[in-house]
């Protein structure tokens, strides 16, 4: 149960890192990645996954 970031779509704005309640998203030096061990898809925290809600590019934060 985790989301992933489609790298070719990512604009590297970092909004997802900022909003993630689980600190599951980190910057690798070039792009952002989601740690599947930490991602809960925001279940129990918010109605919808925060990374997908804030991401400016459609279909970029999607279920892994």
């Amino acid at each position: 149960m985790s989301l992933q970031i489609i790298q070719s779509n990512c604009t590297v704005c970092g909004a997802c890192e900022f909003e993630c309640p689980n600190a599951a998203i980190s910057f690798t030096g070039e792009t952002y990645i989601i740690d599947p061990e930490l991602c809960t898809e925001c279940k129990g925290s918010y109605d919808k996954p925060q990374c997908a809600e804030v991401c400016p590019v459609p279909e970029t934060c999607v279920p892994a």
């Binding site: 590297v12 704005c13 970092g14 909004a15 925060q50 809600e53 400016p56």
Partner: protein
């Protein structure tokens, strides 16, 4: 709501008389009603805040430089004129940036620039992204810079959605300038500009999104005004969507205490990949923009010298030296040397006094030489800054346009004639572009011009004059006006 809208069609374009009448009707006493106001038109506390800020004072923009650092790329709203994937070093427009910096890198870059460009007076954080949403990074950058450069003015540009949460921080850091981008005060209009916003952990669409954004923007304006922070409101003019509506926006932001209103033309092309660009939404023409700006006379003071610069621009408005200061060129360790900037500031203080005196002198001469009701004329000027005619015609990438009549010389706007993102223009093509750019203007002042372009311009009905090289703009423009509109000596004696 449309009952309050003044029809744009009923207003003439840019005539001095209509402007004067409109301002008299609204009780505005300033002749320029803009940011060029000298101290006598402004309370001293406000002047102190804006006098060295090129974006807030038309006069200051001849002397002082700004730089932007792109440290806060995350955004909390989606605008139809913005595409977050764009980056081109040759492109110059808001939101475009070539490198994103950490707060530490940004602080180093600011010091490096301050050491090289003594005109630097302002550090702004203006995107891409929203500086108040990604507040941790904005705040960290400001803190680091302020430690080393305590006299630099800090300012930020934001959509206002998150700003109310950080107003106390602004006060702590002595930030006294904030730009709010407000494109509507009617959420129905907003639905055509903002597809969604992200607020309180939820994405909101449609009318609800614009309603929330509008309320937060008004709250931001009120909070900032109440705390004495100067607010410039930026509005993007989108023909057919908010063009007439911006008159209402202008009145409302003035009522709420905005210091300056900057109405900017939408920049839109399919290759920008924005919703508006792809839909074929056009930007306004220069005439449409001026018509709207003139119609706003009497409302919030208008900024007319905005260059819609890149989000990582460095230098005087109208120039961008950002490419000289990319991170790979900034040393790992930089120490601030205040000497250059201090010397420059002293020089500017004196230079400004001299320029004001020269302008007053030229004005007095004009009054005695032309009839009071002489028609106004527009003059194009090639300048590198400093308020003087000091640029070679061939080097000009923009012209500043001044209006002159018996009442004085006023900055009106600038017109760009660089062909960014096209490149490869030959001399002749450039000249054609200049002639197109100068539509409606028949006189241009520059420091020097070659015989060939001067003859070509003359053939197009434009007189290029280099006799006033290195003079103050006001002195030169007044002299040209007197030469063209001056009464014959006999009439003068009998008048």
């Amino acid at each position: 709501m449309s009952a309050n809208v003044i029809s744009l069609d009923g207003l003439s374009v840019g005539s001095k008389d209509s402007l004067t009448k409109a301002m008299e009707a609204e009780g505005c006493s300033s002749s320029s009603c803009g940011s060029s106001d000298a101290p006598e038109d402004m309370d001293p506390a406000t002047w102190e805040k804006v006098k060295d800020h090129p974006c807030y004072s038309e006069e200051a923009h001849h002397y002082f430089a700004r730089m932007h650092v792109a440290v806060a790329p995350a955004c909390n709203i989606q605008c139809n004129y913005c595409n977050r994937k764009y980056d081109c070093a040759n492109e110059s427009r808001p939101g475009v940036v070539s490198e994103r910096l950490t707060p530490e890198q940004a602080a180093r870059k600011v010091i490096a620039v301050a050491n090289e460009i003594p005109q630097l007076s302002v550090l702004g954080i203006a995107g891409p992204g929203d500086s108040a949403y990604d507040w941790r990074k904005t705040r960290a950058t400001f803190k680091l810079v302020q430690e080393q450069l305590p006299d630099i003015k800090l300012c930020l540009s934001t959509n206002g959605l998150s700003l109310p949460d950080h107003v106390d921080d602004l006060l702590d850091m002595n930030i006294d300038h904030v730009t709010l981008t407000i494109n509507m005060i009617d959420p129905e209009v907003g639905t055509k500009i903002y597809p969604w916003i992200f607020y309180q952990h939820k994405r909101h669409h449609g009318l609800e999104a614009s309603q929330i954004l509008h309320e937060r923007q008004m709250e931001s304006l009120d909070l900032l005004h109440a705390r004495g922070i100067l607010v410039k409101v930026n509005s993007v003019m989108i023909p057919g969507i908010n063009d007439e509506h911006l008159l209402e926006v202008n009145k409302e932001v003035k009522r709420r205490g905005a210091f300056l209103h900057n109405i900017m033309p939408l920049i839109s092309a399919p290759e920008h990949g924005t919703v508006f660009g792809l839909e074929g939404q056009r930007g306004p023409t220069a005439a449409e923009l001026k018509k709207l700006q003139d119609a706003c006379a009497g409302g919030a003071n208008l900024m007319k010298h905005c260059r819609q610069c890149r989000a990582d621009a460095v230098g005087l408005l109208g120039e961008d030296r950002g490419q000289e200061f990319t991170m790979d060129l900034v040393p790992d360790e930089v120490t601030y040397d205040p000497a250059k900037r201090e010397t420059y500031k002293e020089w500017v203080a004196k230079e400004r006094e001299d320029r004001r005196a020269a302008a007053a002198e030229a004005q007095a001469e004009t009054v005695s030489a032309v009839a009071e009701d002489s028609a106004a004329m527009l003059v194009a000027v090639a300048t590198k800054g400093g308020g003087r005619i000091n640029q070679h015609f061939g080097h000009a990438t923009e012209f500043q346009i001044f209006e002159v009549d018996a009442a004085g010389v006023r900055f009106v706007t600038h017109r760009r004639c660089d062909n960014y993102c096209v490149g490869g223009y030959g001399e002749e093509d450039k000249l054609e572009l200049v002639i197109k750019t100068l539509e409606g203007i028949d006189t241009i002042l520059c420091a020097k011009i070659g015989d060939c372009p001067r003859e070509d311009l003359a053939a197009a009905g434009i007189e290029a004059i280099q006799d006033y090289a290195f003079e103050y703009i006001e002195t030169a423009v007044s002299a040209v006006y007197r030469a063209k509109r001056g009464l014959p000596a006999i009439a003068r004696e009998t008048a």
